[in-house]
Amino acid sequence: MKEAKMVIEDVDRKLMMEMQDHFPRSVTPFKEIASRLGLTEEEVLERTRRLQEKGMIRRIGPILNVRRVRQRVGSLIGMRVPGQRLDEVAEVINQFREVSHNYIRNDEYNVWFTISARGQERFDEILDTIRRETGIDDILVLTTIRYFKLGVRFDLERDF
């Protein structure tokens, strides 16, 4: 989206990159970022809050590496949902904290989400509940065999 590029100021772009890639583990992290970027702490706080309000920054915090957590059972799931039932079905799926992502995609399997649960039993319970509450049985459970890359890192300097 070209417009988005226009409305992001250079300073904000730098600030988001710094907070994505090098967030300081210090008691006063925003002050430290301010000094790196030649801004005041007040300015960094204000810009950060504004970027959060706009949804450009979703959250600042710990990002769990689910594969390192014991007993974690997860999968990508694809589901075939009739167009007129999307919202209602999404509500059923999204009720679980173990579902972190859920997207509509342009395919006959049109709803794609991830479940990451503690133990096989809980995983099956979530899937069974989704089946029961939606009455939809055409569900693909596509577990990972191996991964080659994991991890989002946006490069706002180079991608636009």
């Binding site: 988005a4 915090g61 769990l64 999307l86 509509i104 191996r146 994991l150």
Partner: protein, 156 residues
């Protein structure tokens, strides 16, 4: 590594992120009757042990301009999976690349990658390049057309 109660509380309390204020760790330290330094040391330790992928900002990819977000699914013969995985991983715009189980008769695509780009032309250029570099022509582009949920993983 085993997480103890303090680690779990930290992860749980910061599910929605740290507050944007001069001393973001102070409030939690008080609630847990510990010090900011201790909270930070626990975070550091979880990073060292790779319980955490990172500590920092997650960006709203659409809002910052990644309008084309595509899951590309591929049918790749077993002896080419390794090569294809490496090729996919080499792109900055690709955040995830996996081999997954198939469901014969229902879903035969065994490789997945996620591409994030400013527009669909860029996505398609990358897919074409991967096609040329791997010789794999059997794939589908599944763009996300609506986000129903996007949060962060939780400890349960």
């Amino acid at each position: 590594m085993e997480l103890d109660d303090l680690d779990r509380r930290i992860l749980d309390e910061y599910y929605y992120g740290i507050p944007v204020e001069p001393h973001p760790f102070r409030g939690l330290a008080k609630r847990l009757e510990t010090s900011e330094g201790k909270v930070l040391r626990r975070i550091e330790r979880m990073l060292d042990k790779r319980i955490l992928k990172k500590f920092g900002a997650s960006l709203g990819h659409r809002k910052v301009g990644y309008s084309a977000n595509c899951m590309v699914v591929w049918k790749i013969p077993e002896d080419k999976v390794e090569l294809a995985g490496k090729v996919m991983a080499s792109y900055r715009e690709i955040s995830h690349a996996y081999e997954r189980r198939t469901i014969p008769g229902k879903w035969e695509h065994n490789m997945f990658c996620m591409i994030h780009a400013p527009d669909r032309e860029k996505v398609e250029r990358i897919v074409k390049e991967i096609e040329e570099r791997t010789g794999i022509h059997d794939y589908k582009l599944l763009y996300s057309t609506r986000e129903l949920k996007k949060t962060t993983a939780v400890m349960e």
